[in-house]
């Protein structure tokens, strides 16, 4: 009895799966038309890309694009499920921190042939962006769509009452020994409950009302917005080479010295303790008047300028000991899933997304900076039209003071190791020298 029941169930399962296999296979003619699925995470950019999709469909009547927006928190897990389950989108917004692993697992379609055939000029993009998307195997896995750099968002009213001018903000210097004029300004902007400033005698570091500098978190492996704009002015870099480095440098004394200074800010009461930052987003605490300066990415501009009742300015990151500023340069791209059934249509859509036609539309919405040089300028103009001066971000690109987001294998595991290690250092629970041991663990992944 039991056996026959089992057999029935197995037969039923087989029947189900067999009947499901009926559809499927597509000829090359079909791969150039029909509906393609496109995913992105930033809802603020949805209107721009929807317009791109509509324009694209007009120009290519036999292709339609269905856009799905999915928040960052769920984006990557849902995407991975899609790869495993065969339901991934044909085209999706890709991130530098992720694509190495996706390429290695053969989930991405190389598009070199199409780029060559369609004569796409890769020099029209901001320098370095196109190269980021060439994998370790020398193949191209995406066309650049936008970029971001880091800047200092500041509360204009707080600066005014502290007597710090906006010009001063543009000429800040920093070094890991005494923090330079950057630390002086941060200290001066810090105010305790009794109204004493951070650089005055009698400042109570345990009862701070306004911190000079906001803190987002420990920064895990990249420190993108937290500390990399400082550490990388000292000549230090995350990996031996980038992209595709195989050795991380968290054991470098130069780096550890910088981190020691950074953690020290919290000890001095000029920056919130790490433990107080687990909760509301750093931007929200800035809006609540709890910090005067926040170092944050250009993609957050809309958020900061959107708060009610707060005047926000943006200054470039400080000049480091080697006389230059530094900002991580992160670029996104559109990639094609290797399992797509609409290969030709997907390529067309990716090329359209990377073209001036679409990137100018994105620029006009003043949300992010498109990858094309010409479109970047248009975006800056669109921001200016909204009374937001974004030169702090574009300056890095103009002056070539950017360094690339570290691209390596094993990024998820590196992050898994560095996140608690960095938290321990930034919270003052461990000295920066403890990073040497974490660094050994990280580098062991590459053996």
């Amino acid at each position: 009895m039991k056996k026959s029941l089992g057999a029935v169930a197995v037969a039923a399962v087989m029947a189900l799966s067999l009947s499901a296999c009926g559809g499927g296979s597509s000829s090359s003619a079909e791969s150039a038309k029909g509906e393609i699925n496109y995913w992105l995470w930033d809802a603020n950019q949805l209107p721009a890309y929807q317009q791109c999709a509509d324009d694209f469909a007009k120009a290519n009547p036999d292709i339609s694009v269905k856009i799905t927006q999915r928040g960052w928190d769920d984006y990557w897990s849902t995407l991975t499920n899609g790869f495993v389950g065969g339901t991934a989108p044909d085209v999706f917004t890709n991130h530098l921190g992720r694509y190495g692993e996706l390429a290695e697992n053969k989930q991405l379609l190389a598009i070199d042939d199409a780029v060559k055939k369609d004569n796409i000029d890769l020099t029209q993009y901001n320098e370095g962006l196109a190269d980021l998307w060439v994998g370790q195997d020398g193949k191209r896995y995406g066309l650049p769509k936008d970029w971001d750099t880091i800047g200092l968002f500041y509360n204009k009213a707080m600066l005014a009452s502290a007597g710090v001018t906006e010009d001063q903000m543009k000429d800040l210097t920093w070094n890991p020994e005494d923090g330079g004029s950057y630390e002086k300004v941060i200290a001066h902007l810090t105010v305790d409950k009794n109204g004493k400033r951070g650089d005055e005698a009698g400042f109570d570091k345990n009862n701070v009302a306004v911190y000079g500098l906001g803190l987002n978190g420990g920064g895990d492996s990249s420190g993108q917005t937290e500390w990399s704009y400082l550490t990388n002015t000292t000549g230090w870099s995350h990996t031996d080479k980038n992209p595709w480095g195989t050795h991380y440098n968290y054991d470098d004394p130069k780096f550890q010295e910088s981190m020691e200074w950074f953690a020290g800010l919290a000890q001095k009461g000029f920056m919130p303790k790490l433990e107080t930052t687990v909760g509301a987003a750093m931007a929200d605490t800035f809006a609540a008047g709890k910090s005067a300066i926040n170092a944050h990415g250009s993609w957050m501009t809309g958020q900061y300028t959107g708060y009610k009742g707060i005047e926000v300015g943006i200054a470039p990151t400080p000049v480091g000991p080697e006389g230059k500023r530094a900002s991580m340069f992160n670029g996104l791209a559109d990639s094609i899933w290797a399992g797509t059934k609409k290969k030709d249509a997907s390529i067309k859509w990716v090329e359209y997304l990377a073209s001036a036609d679409c990137q100018d539309v994105v620029a006009s919405k003043a949300v992010v900076f498109p990858a094309l040089k010409a479109s970047s300028d248009k975006a800056a103009a669109a921001f200016a039209a909204k009374n937001v001066d974004v030169s702090a971000f574009t300056e890095h690109v103009r002056n070539k003071s950017t360094f690339l987001y570290p691209i390596t294998d094993n990024t998820a595991k590196v992050k898994g190791i560095m996140e608690p290690a960095m938290d321990a250092v930034v919270s003052g629970k461990a000295p920066a020298s403890s990073l040497t041991q974490a660094n050994e663990q990280v580098n062991a992944l590459f053996k």
């Binding site: 509301a280 609540a288 919270s427």
Partner: protein
């Protein structure tokens, strides 16, 4: 456990313990029984047994979800034995379970007493159940918002009271207790209801005798209510302890394992290794260990608390 239906007054007379079943039937119900459990059996086999076996198999492999699994024998298990984060996750989970269970059981017991003696309106009892009607994720997000250090309302009240603000999620000392309290908040009403149900099954005459003997309420509670409630309490404990070991949602939407490793509980660590770091073999091996721990804990509880015997006979 067998006494629970006794409060149902108009129930037909009980035939007593379920064991002596009329001898009119031989052991011949197998066929009809198979018919009755067939659907449940399908669910059991396909969605519990098969995936468990598949998971156990994967625990002996290296598998990154996107590729194919390769057999590595005991490698994952030997690596786990040497993995400080695994041992940390055990310690953290243990701490959480202890706090959560002690708090939840004590509060639920108190609430059940109140429900039994004072709060007789459904509205009041229902109000106590409200938190349980929210999902874990939502409850966690809500408290994440209310307990924020800088702009959370709870810290606002703490400050108004003249006390220093507390980093509920961010400090290593507070992170686990905070998680435990949030889940206690969500579950205490429901747990209280279960215990309350057990209290209702205690016959009234036992209390009357105690009253005649001049027992104080506290004595009554200690000498009568608690012992008679034991089977119910044990069942509630077994179930809540198992549930408590599987804490995941609250951690995943709030602290994500931090600060440092203070809330990297075992389920979260499994998730991190298996899904975030795409090391499914390793994650599965930890899950197998967790399964064994749960089985052991359940067994010990049943054994030592004598959960399947009632004192009421």
């Amino acid at each position: 456990m067998t006494t629970l239906a006794k409060n149902a007054r108009s129930a037909p007379p009980q035939t007593g313990a379920p064991k002596p079943r009329g001898g009119y039937r031989r052991l011949g119900d197998l066929k009809i029984a198979l018919f009755f459990i067939a659907p449940a059996m399908i669910g059991f086999i396909f969605f519990y047994v098969v995936p468990t076996i598949r998971g156990v198999y994967l625990s002996f492999t290296e598998y990154n979800i996107l590729g194919d699994p390769t057999w590595v024998g005991m490698d994952n298990y030997t690596a786990i034995a040497k993995d400080p984060l695994f041992w940390n996750s055990l310690a953290v989970t243990g701490q959480y379970v202890f706090l959560n269970i002690v708090l939840q059981t004590a509060l639920a017991l108190g609430l059940a007493l109140l429900m039994n003696k004072v709060a007789k309106s459904t509205l009041i009892r229902g109000a106590l159940l409200l938190p349980w009607m929210m999902s874990n994720i939502i409850a966690a997000l809500l408290w994440f918002w209310m307990l924020d250090y800088q702009i959370g309302v709870v810290n606002q009240f703490i400050e108004w009271a003249g006390l220093p603000r507390v980093a509920f999620f961010g400090s290593e000392e507070w992170a686990i207790p905070t998680q435990a309290v949030i889940n206690t908040w969500r579950h205490m009403g429901y747990t209280a209801l279960l215990i309350f149900a057990g209290m209702q099954a205690i016959p009234g005459h036992v209390y009357e005798v105690a009253k005649l003997d001049g027992a104080s309420p506290f004595q009554t509670f200690r000498k009568i209510t608690l012992p008679l409630l034991r089977p119910v309490l044990v069942m509630v404990l077994v179930v809540t302890v198992i549930g408590s070991f599987q804490v995941f949602d609250t951690v995943s939407v709030t602290t994500g394992g931090g600060p440092v490793n203070a809330t990297r509980v075992i389920q979260y660590y499994i998730y991190q290794r298996a899904f975030t770091e795409s090391d499914f073999g390793y994650g599965s091996a930890i899950a197998v260990i967790l399964f064994l721990i749960l089985a052991l804990v359940a067994f010990i509880q049943m054994k030592f608390l004598k959960g399947n015997e009632s004192d009421l006979d």
